[in-house]
């Protein structure tokens, strides 16, 4: 099919769902903004999403290890996630949403790896237990460690979604009873890290769009895409002017809290935390923790459960 026809078919399908081309462009504009791109890049994003919607849909294998499913839940909060799951990508394996269980689920996983060897995107949620032969975490008699080693090297790219998959996260907090580690540390493969507890789903979508668009994704030394993690929460904080004016909240519930002053003295870790929460926000732009009057806890930094605590003490 010609690219032009394919695009037309894509828009026809959108129209059929009651989504106009204008709505779609608006959505891509929001996505573009979350990717930290200038609005002139919207065209590229549109193109990538159109391409992504082409057939066959790009296969994704989503693995759950030592996790709480919060990253999946965050992904499911993307507006119109149904269209992403059913029409944009092909989720070949995802334990939270897939119909099959047991042997049939295992078959789905193995068939997908076989069929899409070297072509699928692997999204990993959760960290990997390494102590006791990986004995603290298993699926179908195989340890997370064994599963990771057998599946992930076959992927075209691996996204470590959330702080657990990226750096170990909560299960790795001291004393780390199961010897949990992030994917890269556990099995030594390169990953694109999208930390956050939970990670912002727009950053996942933006990463997938860039990947499908064959754009180079620039990463920092911690494996995080620069389009989302180049600046600190503090850098883009809407309360920054209060910090500069020495206007601080010193007790929750105070007049200063009501005025939305800076939360630095309440323990805010915004200055040490690289993420785009203040600009991307969560749940379709509804809010983010500092907007809700709570200090940032640094949830996208490696080891934050140990390095950023006690959370309510000034750094």
């Amino acid at each position: 099919m010609e690219e032009k026809d394919r695009n037309q078919e894509f828009y026809d399908r959108l129209e059929a769902k009651g989504v106009s081309r204008r709505d779609f462009l608006k959505y891509c504009t929001a996505l573009t903004a979350s990717m930290g791109l200038t609005l002139s890049c919207t065209g590229q994003v549109v193109k990538a999403v159109e391409k992504a919607a082409a057939s066959p849909r790009p296969p994704v294998i989503w693995l759950h290890f030592g996790e709480c499913t919060g990253c999946s839940e965050a992904f499911l909060r993307t507006p119109d996630v149904g269209a992403i799951i059913l029409e944009t990508i092909s989720v070949e394996y995802h334990e939270t949403i897939m119909a099959a269980s047991g042997h049939q689920a295992e078959k789905s996983l193995h068939d997908a790896v076989e069929k899409y060897k070297g072509k699928f995107v692997c999204v990993v949620e959760g960290s990997i237990a390494t102590k006791y032969n990986g004995g603290y975490g298993k699926v179908a008699d195989r340890s997370f460690l064994e599963i990771a080693k057998s599946i992930i090297p076959n992927a075209a790219a691996t996204i470590a979604l959330g702080t657990c998959a990226a750096y170990g996260g909560l299960p790795a907090a001291a004393p780390n009873p199961g010897g949990y580690k992030g994917v890269k540390d556990a099995i030594g493969v390169a990953t694109i890290n999208l930390p956050g507890c939970p990670p912002n789903p727009l950053n996942l979508l933006a990463t997938i769009v860039k990947y499908l668009n064959k754009e180079k994704i620039e990463l920092d030394e911690l494996g995080r895409p620069l389009f989302a993690y180049a600046e600190t929460v503090h850098d883009r904080c809407p309360r920054l002017k209060h910090f500069e004016n020495d206007e601080y909240v010193e007790e929750f519930g105070s007049k200063e809290a009501e005025l939305g002053y800076c939360l630095y003295k309440m323990g805010c870790r915004g200055p040490e935390t690289y993420n785009n929460c203040p600009t991307a926000k969560f749940n379709d732009g509804t809010s983010f923790p500092i907007q809700a009057g709570h200090p940032c806890i640094g949830c996208s930094e490696p080891g934050f459960w140990d390095t950023m605590t006690p959370f309510y003490e000034e750094a």
Partner: protein, 545 residues
């Protein structure tokens, strides 16, 4: 000896769950539930600042997000003798109510529905007849064009050869009983609910900053005082209205329509006598009265007051160093140091076996609805009687897989409706100049406290002991541990294991019927794995709730 089958992974749940059953003459003769992951969150909490605990425990689970954080701040507030302001109670209740609405909707449509709804059969439906069905049962009927469009979308999806999450489902299984039109209607609402849930979760973000893992709770209250503006409250109210509308006009009618084809399941998946509810949604800051009441049912519909001292946990069949069953207060954490060996004759799970007065008790929507019903709660009685009448079934059918799934819908409606009252009270407090959302307090050197709560999956208790202003001990006993725990020292099985016994299985290679009962409990296994293995048998003052 019957045939043993293992289902691992159980999907459409939170966490890593393995179910093993023995099948004889087409029925389950015996069953074993196993939690397959251990993280050890309580072990991490020892020595930390009690104010930080809620952030840690919230990460027990991203599906039942918020509820552990709420239980944790309540436990610390109990230990530090803090009474939170009324606005904090209302905002916490609203976020908790929103969690019930969101969680139960997602459970019904995205985690449970595919056990009853054959997506592939929906392709054979007549969209005109589907529209008629929708007109008969739904409060928000859709036209044939709508169903045709969804059906076309499904056809395109299936013909693409990339079935994605629907690959290898038990489609065409003889236990699927819905006509194609009902399947199409339910499949359409699966997609609608996927959209709605993303919106419903925004209720959390309005006052909580984000979802999952809202970040606005602190010991002493909530931080989102700046969001108590008319605009923000209106925003919350609009999403609540839309969600409530969906529940009333789509979810409840779908439940009744689907249940009417599966009335046999009113006699399958029960087998439990004991039910436990801690109750939740306090009507005032003194917590004298709760929307959903506390109570323990030993058998039938006779309800007793609960006594937190009756709660123990048994580790005989779990992967922990052995010890006597103990009360969760004052504990030590001792997972086995090595690779666990799965052996249904010995130890087979990371879940422990909680007991109330020595009995395995079912917790969750069914327990709450039964306790409220037995207490004479008018709203719950009316809703239950309405459902029983519509389905022409008796009260005994409540004690089943069908009853459990119906109870979840019933309480979603009851709790959702109450949110409207809390929102109004919040507005009138603010109008009268009361914007207090936080009570200042000081950390004591020592203290002990607990919070008994009821959350979407059931009774949840958190216990904390503070020494030198740090956490000395922290334990929680979680709904899915109650339900999915293993056998105890006496050999008494856990509630889900009991429920599975007697379940008919038409085809052992496609155990669809097992999934129905397992999913009816809405398992959350990451939450369920916890370590409490008390060395000292310290008793705590009896507080009858």
């Amino acid at each position: 000896m019957g045939k043993r089958i293992i289902i691992d992974p159980i999907t459409r749940i939170e966490g890593h769950l393995r179910i093993e059953v023995e099948i004889e003459n087409g029925k389950v003769k015996d069953a074993w539930c196993s939690g397959q992951m251990f993280r050890g969150i309580e072990m991490m909490l020892t020595g930390r600042d009690p104010r930080d605990a809620h952030h840690f425990v919230q990460r027990s689970c991203g599906v039942c997000t918020y509820v552990h954080a709420l239980s944790s701040v309540r436990a610390v507030e109990d230990a530090c003798n803090i009474t939170i302001p009324d606005n904090a109670r209302l905002i916490r209740n609203l976020i908790h109510g929103a969690q019930f609405q969101h969680d139960h909707l997602v459970h019904f449509y995205h985690l449970h529905a595919l056990d009853w709804v054959d997506i592939v059969s929906a392709l054979d439906a007549d969209p005109v007849k589907t529209a008629k069905l929708s007109e008969n049962v739904s409060g928000m009927p859709q036209k044939s064009e709508y169903f045709r469009e969804i059906q076309d979308k499904l056809k395109t999806f299936v013909s693409s050869g990339q079935l994605g999450p629907f690959n290898n489902g038990y489609w065409g299984h003889s236990a699927y009983l819905l006509p194609p039109e009902a399947n199409l209607m339910a499949a359409s609402h699966y997609i609608e609910a996927l959209k709605l849930q993303a919106k419903a979760a925004r209720m959390h973000a309005v006052f909580g900053g984000k979802n999952p893992h809202p970040q606005f709770l602190v010991v002493g209250g909530v931080t989102s005082v700046k969001d108590l503006s008319a605009d923000r409250i209106h925003e919350f109210g609009e999403i609540w209205k839309e969600t409530t509308d969906f529940i009333d006009k789509i979810y409840i009618p779908d439940l009744l329509a689907i249940a009417s084809f599966y009335k046999d399941w009113g006699a399958i998946g029960g087998n439990n006598d004991a039910f436990l509810a801690y109750g939740d949604f306090a009507n005032d800051t003194a917590e004298n009265e709760k929307l959903m009441p506390a109570g323990f049912i030993r058998k039938g519909l006779e309800v007793e007051n609960i006594n937190p001292d009756m709660i123990t946990e048994d580790v005989t069949r779990a992967w922990y160093e052995k010890g006597k069953a103990r009360h969760p207060f004052a504990g030590e954490t001792r997972p086995i140091q090595g690779e666990p060996v799965y052996d249904t004759d010995k130890s087979y799970s990371w879940l422990k076996a909680p007991r109330y007065d020595g009995l395995a008790a079912e917790v969750g929507p069914l327990a709450r609805v039964l306790v409220a019903y037995a207490h004479g709660n008018a709203d719950v009685q009316a809703a239950v009687n309405g459902v029983l009448k519509k389905l022409s079934i008796g009260k005994e059918a409540l004690f089943s897989t069908l009853g459990r799934t119906a109870a979840r819908a019933i309480e979603t409606q009851v709790i959702g409706n109450a949110m409207g009252d809390w929102l109004e009270t919040l507005k009138s407090n603010i109008a009268s100049g009361d914007k207090k959302t936080y009570q200042a307090w000081e950390m004591p050197k020592t203290g002990k406290g607990f919070g008994l709560n009821d959350v979407p999956r059931g009774a949840l208790g958190h216990w904390i002991e503070i020494e030198d202003s740090k956490i000395k001990n922290y334990q929680y006993v979680v709904p899915s541990t109650w339900n999915f725990g293993p056998a105890d020292a006496k050999g008494n099985k856990g509630p889900v294991e009991r429920s599975l016994i007697g379940t008919p299985v038409a085809d052992a290679s496609k155990p669809l019927e097992i999934l129905r009962t397992v999913h009816s409990y809405d398992p959350c296994i990451a939450c369920a794995v916890h370590v409490v293995d008390p060395e000292s048998n310290e008793t705590y003052k009896v507080q009858v709730v």
